[in-house]
Structure formats: C-alpha cells, structure tokens
Subunit: 260 residues, 4 copies
Amino acid sequence: MQQDTLTIAGKEYSSRLLVGTGKYKDLAETKAATEASGAQIITVAIRRTNIGQNKDEPNLLDVIPLDKYTLLPNTAGCYNVEDAVRTCRLARELLNGHKLVKLEVLGDAKTLYPDTIQTLKAAEILVKDGFDVMVYTSDDPLIARQLEDIGCVAVMPLAAPIGSGLGIRNPYNILEIIENAKVPIIVDAGVGTASDAAIAMEMGCAGVLMNTAIAGAKNPVLMASAMKKAIEAGREAFLAGRMPRKRYASASSPLDGTFF
Amino acid sequence: MQQDTLTIAGKEYSSRLLVGTGKYKDLAETKAATEASGAQIITVAIRRTNIGQNKDEPNLLDVIPLDKYTLLPNTAGCYNVEDAVRTCRLARELLNGHKLVKLEVLGDAKTLYPDTIQTLKAAEILVKDGFDVMVYTSDDPLIARQLEDIGCVAVMPLAAPIGSGLGIRNPYNILEIIENAKVPIIVDAGVGTASDAAIAMEMGCAGVLMNTAIAGAKNPVLMASAMKKAIEAGREAFLAGRMPRKRYASASSPLDGTFF
Amino acid sequence: MQQDTLTIAGKEYSSRLLVGTGKYKDLAETKAATEASGAQIITVAIRRTNIGQNKDEPNLLDVIPLDKYTLLPNTAGCYNVEDAVRTCRLARELLNGHKLVKLEVLGDAKTLYPDTIQTLKAAEILVKDGFDVMVYTSDDPLIARQLEDIGCVAVMPLAAPIGSGLGIRNPYNILEIIENAKVPIIVDAGVGTASDAAIAMEMGCAGVLMNTAIAGAKNPVLMASAMKKAIEAGREAFLAGRMPRKRYASASSPLDGTFF
Amino acid sequence: MQQDTLTIAGKEYSSRLLVGTGKYKDLAETKAATEASGAQIITVAIRRTNIGQNKDEPNLLDVIPLDKYTLLPNTAGCYNVEDAVRTCRLARELLNGHKLVKLEVLGDAKTLYPDTIQTLKAAEILVKDGFDVMVYTSDDPLIARQLEDIGCVAVMPLAAPIGSGLGIRNPYNILEIIENAKVPIIVDAGVGTASDAAIAMEMGCAGVLMNTAIAGAKNPVLMASAMKKAIEAGREAFLAGRMPRKRYASASSPLDGTFF
C-alpha cells in the first residue's frame, strides 16, 4: 500500500481524508481532532477564520502549522462569482502566493447547495488566474465534467447538503462522476459517520472532505480517529476488490439486485 | 480506547473482528490474511478442517497456533441437534477440554439459514454440558433473547445469508436484538465489504464474524486489513457518538427520516 | 384480469387487500373505510371486538355484515398457545362453526413480534381441530415453510412490526418465502402507505393485510381507496412483468445492482 | 376527489399520468396502452414520430387523436439550444400554433442526462417566444427554481436516467424541489414499476411522465393500467396523510430514522 497516494496539483498525500476547522469548541480541540484524523490537507474558511488578518486574535496557524499541513483556503459564505474570486485572491496574498484553493459558490443559504452556473464561471476565472482549483459542486455528472474540462485539479461533489450528515444521497451520480473523471473526485459535504466515508471510498472516490461529521460528534477526537480508519478501510476494500454480491453462497452468478 | 475490550466467556479481546479459515487458496494465504485481520478468535469448521484428526495432512494449527489465537470450533454443515452436539464434543476432545464453541444448526442447504428451533435445543444441551456457546441464529429478536436466557455467552445473528455478501438486510431487527441483550451480539455471516462491517459496529454490535468477505475478495490479505480498520472505525464512531442527521445544517431538529 | 383471483381455503376473492377493523373513531368510519378499501376479508380481534358477545353494545356485524364479507377472527392479544386456541374456538362458536381464523401468538408486548415457536404449536393444534388457519409469523423462511407443512391455508409474514408503518424491512426474506411457498403469502403488518403495499404485490405476494395504515391516516377513507388501488397496481405490475433495471437506456444488460 | 385536478398552462386534467409514445411494437399497441393508462397528455418526439410530416407513413395522430388528447411535442434527441428551439417551432407549425411543448436539451448520449445550462438558455428563448414550456431537468433544486423563475409552466426533474427504470435515485432533491415550487413538479424519466410512480406521488409530485416503464414491460397494456392505478393510489395517499412511521405501535413519537 505504500505507493497508494493521492496526488493533487502535483503534490502527493498519503492521507485521503481532508478536514475543515470549523465548529470546534476551541483551538485545542481543533488541533487534537485534526491530528487524530491524520489529515494533511486542511480547509479553512477565509471569511470566518483568522489566519493572520487579525493580529490580536487566536490564529489558526498556531495549531495548524504550514510546515506540517497543506492549507486549503475555501470560499465558504460566498454567493457570487466576485466574492468567491476575491476571497481566493485574498487567501493568496495572506499566504504568500499560495495557489491551492477550494472554490464554493453557494446558491442557497438554507441548503448551502452550490450554484453550479456561478461555480463554472468562477472556476474559469480562477484557473486562468493561475490558481489550482478544487471545486465544490453538485452531483450533476455533466457539470462535474465541465469543471474538469476547465482545468480544476479536483472535483468535489456533495454527498448530501453541508452539515446534514445524511451520507451519499445519490450513489448513482457519484459513481457516474468517478468513472468519467481523470482528476481526483473527492466527496465533499454530507458525510455523517464512519461508514458513510467508507462507502464513498469503496465506490472509488479519491478522498473525502468533512467537517461537521467530526466536529459535531459528541467526542470529536475519537470520531476523527474513526474517520481516519474508515477512509483507509474503504480505500483498501476498493483496492482489494470485494466479493460479488450473491443471493446465496451456492448461487452461481452475482445478484441482479432487483429487490435488495 | 485501551479499556474498550470485548469479553467472551470471561476472556478479554482487543479485536472485535472474528474470522473463519475456509475458502483460502492455501494455508499460507490463510495465515497472511488472518494476521492482517488482527483477529484473535478464529473459527474452524470441525467437520471440514484438519486440526489433528488426520496426521498426514496439512494441519491448520500450524498456521493458527493455539498459543496465539483462541480457536472457535464451529458446527458448520450440521443440520440437526445430534450432529451439532456430537461435533462440539469431538472438538472438545481434540482440543483437550476446550469449552468455547460456535453452534450452528442449519435448516436449509441452499440458503444456509439457521433452524432456530433445533438451534435452541442444541444450545440447551451444550450449555448444560458445560460448553461456552456462541450461537449463530436468525435476526429474530425473540429467538435471540431465548438463546441468551438459555445461557449462551454470545448471540450471533446473521446480517444476510452465509456467503452472500449482502450486508445487513434488516438493521431494524439487529438493533432490536442489541438493545435488549446483556451478552455480546456479534453479527455473523452476510457481510460483504468494509462499510458493511462498519455499519454493524456503528449500530452497537460487539463484533463481527466473517469469512467469505475476506477470503472471497480478489486480494484477501488487503481486504483483511480493510476489515480490521472498518471494525475499529465503526466501533470508534459508535463510541464517539455521531452527529445528528438533519435535513440541512441550519435545521434546528434532527430528521424524522420519512423519505431519506 | 378477470381470472386473477385469490383463493383461500377453497374460496375465491377478487380483492387482495385484507383489512382490520381496529382504531377507527366509530363504526360509521369503520364501515366507510372498509367499503372504500374493497376488501372482502375482514379481520376482527375477537378479544377486543363485540360481534355479539355483549348484547347491549354496538355490534361490528352491523357494519360488516356476514353476507357481504368473509370475517376473519384473529387472536390479537394472545401470548400463548392456550389463549390463542381458546380464542379461535370461541370465534367458531360465536360464528356458528366458522372455520377460517387468523392465528397470532405474540411474544413481546412492546414490538408485538410473533413467538414463532408457540405459533407453530398453536397452528398444529388448530389445523388438527379442523380450522382453516391463516397465520401471522416473522419473515423467517424456514418457519414459514414449517407453517405451510403443518397445513396452514395462508402464511402471513410481517413486513415490519404491527403498527409501525415502516414498510417491508427485509424484502430478501419475503421474496425467499414467496418463492418457496405453495400457499398464498400475505404480508401482514407494517405497511405504512400505498407504495409499501404496491411493493409487496410487485414482489409476488398474494395479498396484504393492514389496519393502522388505513385507520391511522388523517383521512382513513381516502387512504382505504389509495390502498385498494395500490394493491391492484402492484398486482398488475407483477403480472405485467416490469422492464429490467439498467444503468442507462443504452446499456445492453440489466444492472448488477452493486451500489444502487 | 372530484376537484383534485392537475392544471398546466391553464388547462385542467383529471389524470396525473403523462405518457410517451415510443418503443411500442406498433400503433395498435400504442393506442391500447395509451388508453389503458388513462393519460390525457401524450408526449411525442417530434424528430422521430410522424405526426403528418410524412404523408405516406402511419401517422401517430390516427391513434392519438387531437380531440381526445393534449399532445405534448418534445425535443428528444436535441443536444443544443438551436436544435431544441427549432424543433419546438416546427411542432408549433405542424400543430397549427400549438404552444405547449416539453423541452429537453440533452448533454450526454450515453446517460441522456440533461444539460442544465443549455436547458436554461433554451427555456428562456421559448418562453419569450410565447411557448408554454414544460421542462425536463436534473434534480438540482437551484436549477429547478431558475426554470420556474424563467416562466416554465411545469418543471420535470428526472427520477433516474431515461430508460433506466431505477426509480427515484434522490428523493431528497425531489422533495426539496417540490417544497419550493409554485408550478407543478412532474417526475420525468427513470420510473420502472408501479411503486416507483406511487412513491413520486406520495412525495407530493403533481404527476409523473413515463414511457419505457410501460412500453418496456412484458405486457405494456397491463402495465399501463397498473401505472394509472399507482398514480391515483400515490396521489390519494398523499392527500389522505399517511400514518407516522414509528419504531413500534406502542412508541409515543415518530421515528428519527437513523438506521431504517
């Protein structure tokens, strides 16, 4: 398993779990959970998180040091192209030319569902501007393909609405996206527990990004450890090639799955 | 997590994954997969496996040494009370008074579904005869409770038919069994891939026993590793307490789950 | 479709929906909902319903006249063989030698789950005593077969616990029962809405028995009509032979169903 | 139930089942199945169906007479805005100013998935040009809302890919669309059998459009009847207000749905 790495924008990662930093009770918990998760790519909502903008406040980078983690600034809270693009540029400035960003352009404050049309426009601008764009999107396979064609370095369809914890609502579409992609497909948003993450990986996702599933657990640090193992378990199961589903052990052919 | 052990018949185990030894291509693969699984309790079909009965044939105990593993002789292939009881007694003799057995009395050669009525009778005889009985059964909550009342040390409902790989067919019943039990409930049979195992553990199962899901994978050793991690992930997620399912992040109350 | 009738104990019925009479607000609603359902077999809890035992109270038979409906006395509320057998005999007396009964022997007051072992014993006694026994049971395929072997005229596995409205919890087992049966298999208990009933019929059930799904709806009479149509729709879909499930219209072979 | 009609572009319909005319073995079967379905709105692929373009060939309008049915010309086979718009205008000419059309702009020949961006553009042109546009789209709730805002008279999200028969892949999104819409939401594509149609209606869809589920059944005419009843059953169940899902009859509160 040594060679099984995730490559994003030319950089290799041994962990396939990407985590956010929101919703923890304090920076100590953020630090402990992040470490337990084994994540190497940490996403940060630039509009809500102090990474140096406010000199006198606690700085996330004290617990997520840049020499240890790859920071993934994101545009959470942006509802139009302009805000999203501006936020990415601000992140680049704050982080001395850092190119890797996670783009999200939301269309709805209730569901936090992505506005795919604005997302496509913002992605195009950012790619042209030299960013390495990982992009949050719906599970629409055609939109996913267009985002890849634009030059995004990873496409990140939602499993379910952000913060819902419902797991993959539409495995059909996620699988369709995976099978047609040349860039890493990373499920972003909607995972609720360890098995949800394992399922995503078993389908062939390159990784999973989550925040609430860890930060919203009763014991976030223990859940972070669970997620680390679940991602690895799902990945290994995918690589190992599962047994066929059959109606019985004695059945000679796999199941056609009509009823179950 | 150090104290989170599984206790069966007074003995503590750190692993909650129990594995079988059938269907591997050779003893070397059996050994490698068993080690990768981290399992400490290894079940053996006494009627099909040489653990010393046949002096001149390969002996399973050469790769599953008794000083390292707890052997769990099982009555696979028994379709009535007599055969099952006799098989357990044979195992006890072969293993110098070994008391821990896994009882299964099958009712149907096609589905390998348990005959619960014969199972109850055999369990009663074996418990009275001093065995520590772990018992394979259906997911009928009332039968499970009766098996516990008889004195079985663990109750092992099926997730799905043996060798089917379909995962938990009826989470409702499994949860009902778990919530009403004082002995460990271990899902036995039907798991197909890592997430199936994680789901069982997230529901509160004490452990999972499997064979085909590992031996029937394209790469059994890698799948054994996946299962080890999945069991740990599911257990930790259970202990960590998952986030509530909500329709949206902004929803004030958990989901009632009518449609999804 | 004229010839497609349900035969139970030698009598033919055009309706495949069987209904109970409990939980309505008054006899007028019972009458209206029963008529809207089109049901011809009406089950009655002998221990809870006045069918003439109490001369001065409202009599169910005033709204469910015996010349129009087949009454199906049931043993709801019986938790052992004796009570169940005695209740059936009481019904036979009250109804002048009526032989058709629905046997249920419950094992648990919380879940109303059947005690299959007591059910088998009571069925044996009742069949020998000349009753035509329709029998409520779990979805255990082996128990279902034994009940058929004893001579029950219909086997009635639960979809889900009585009054839960959860729909078929384990389609796998229900299908297994159907495919191995020579007597009608009628799903009894657990249906919650019209599509649940349609699904049961599409699987090949001979009929569905329900009570709470109708009586517990906000508008029971309209729901009764919905159920009538759903049963017919499901039956016709079963007979018509559905299209294969495919991943796409252009796919040349049906789906193997791994993920969806 | 007399007043429960579906209103589209100012016209009332008693049937909520809309059907296509493709894939039947001959016009006689088309006629028989269409009649059995009770459908009043019949969709026709203008590019593939003779409704008078070819004088010497069988004319669909001979079996689907315009005085009896509302014809719904559709743009099946169109992969860009121009083709779709031109096809609608051709239909308007052929049908003497007929304004009601079903717009579909496909993005992928394998999945027949809609190209939502092109669909939005074509919808805008057609609405401005005076058409009453019913529009096939993905289950993206934001796109659905934009199509409504443009002025489409009905929004028609897919249940699953055209011709797949997989049923509603993402009930979450369909429900989200329904709850936020002021125009009728009609599930279009992907239904496979009667219960799929009932489920759509129980969620609150205004109707269901299907073709392969009927034409691809072994007995299309019987399946058409099944679908008629399933749509009515689902609609009535929706209006009747189903019983709450509970873990047991004795449970005091509805289920939170975590595991089942």
